[in-house]
Symmetry: D2
Subunit: 144 residues, 4 copies
């Protein structure tokens, strides 16, 4: 396993990467911290993320978990690789707090040459209990 503490893109670099290459979701996601074994990402909640009642929608939670594991990988392997999600498994456990941001605490469990696995706990900002958990697997294309 690659050394997860060997960071090649920090918070600022990842946020610039998002702005440049994912303009469609510009302003939605903020990298808060590249941690020793993963990353913490914030979904800055906007109207389009909400369901009736003001809680964050399932697809928005999926999107947050997906981008969180993706950026946790890129922080270690750099912006050159075109990784793609191959599998995802999620459990929705509690109703998110209305209109609150979601924070994704992510850890990389495997960062191999061809496959990466991460898991994520999603929290309504400031809450102690997670609203959802997710695990995502990514396929990493060969270099060069």
């Amino acid at each position: 396993m690659a050394d997860l503490a060997d960071i090649v893109m920090d918070e600022a670099a990842l946020n610039r990467f998002l702005e440049e290459f994912f303009q469609q979701v510009a302003g939605e996601f903020t990298v808060e911290e590249v941690t020793s074994d993963g990353i913490r990402i914030r979904l800055v909640v906007q109207d389009k993320h909400l369901r009736p009642g003001g809680t964050v929608s399932g697809p928005s939670m999926f999107a947050l978990a997906d981008v969180a594991v993706y950026l946790a990988i890129l922080a270690r392997i750099g912006p050159k690789a075109l990784s793609v999600t191959t599998s995802a498994a999620l459990d929705f456990m509690r109703k998110p707090v209305a209109h609150a941001d979601l924070v994704a605490e992510t850890r990389l469990l495997k960062l191999g040459r061809v496959l990466a696995v991460g898991d994520v706990l999603l929290y309504s900002d400031g809450m102690a209990q997670p609203v959802a958990r997710a695990s995502m697997t990514y396929s990493i294309p060969p270099a060069g």
Copy 2:
């Protein structure tokens, strides 16, 4: 198991339900057919569903699979129940065709009193091989 062929909301009723209660996704999803054991739903692809390169994003595929199983349930139990997704598992298998609609072929595998399970194959419109598969579980709250 409830008789899946016992339909209480047909295509027109489900499409009206979407328009009325899910205005945030108005025009995105169309119920094409309530089938003997499930439902077929179309994602009418718009710019916001696309990733760079023009293929449908992962969150949009999640959203389609989620609404597909939800509406397959409602077709049998009616609009009164407030079902919520509890678990989801997806495999992303092929790159969707650029700018093509996605079609979700859904079958209900279980429709119990408190839990429903459905699985979905997602196709780029007109293609023979699915781009993704999904299974979703829903919790059905007690009546009354």
Copy 3:
């Protein structure tokens, strides 16, 4: 995608393969039919597969789904490849019938160069409703 109808190991060849290389589970699994898009495998229920009450245990259902997708792949690529399971997702939907065999109806959804995906419905022998569903992904090592 490889042509799923291009079979290189038939039922007899797969059953011999099981006997030779998986002696630890000898007699537990029988290949009943290599189908046009998958395979049908039987778990010949023995005491060790049962939970108190006489129903098949979760681990035995996992084992059946796992071997089913594995053999569906081998039927198409032959006995040389050492595939390994990378992900599994299962939903347990009904209590199996006590002391009844389980039958796994399997379809391969993707058979790529490096990744294969299959899904499985598990039935108590003779029943119309599945007791469980499973999807499994396999990593296929490069040839040679």
Copy 4:
């Protein structure tokens, strides 16, 4: 959420429960510690758990993850409830060390009235990197 630190069955009580009610797996699993938010369980590896090459089989890993979440729940709600697994998602990330025990580090993420969710990291005894991860959902039948 029930207070996870409110333990009604300790290690000795859970081990006695296993011996009494799960004689089919007697001696396979040992409760090592009921932790503040979960449990640690050991699979005492026997020949029947191994694949050719001496590594622990997928079904044995499933069995360990399943019993781990089950016992983490029982430690909090006591032996009276008959919980059943409804969903499972696993990622197999590394080859287990040959002939080594497996240790399951488990945390309960939700312990609701009707649904519980736990996730598990599985380690070959003494290793720093997990061989697999799992999440399991359990349905808890109504009391009385």
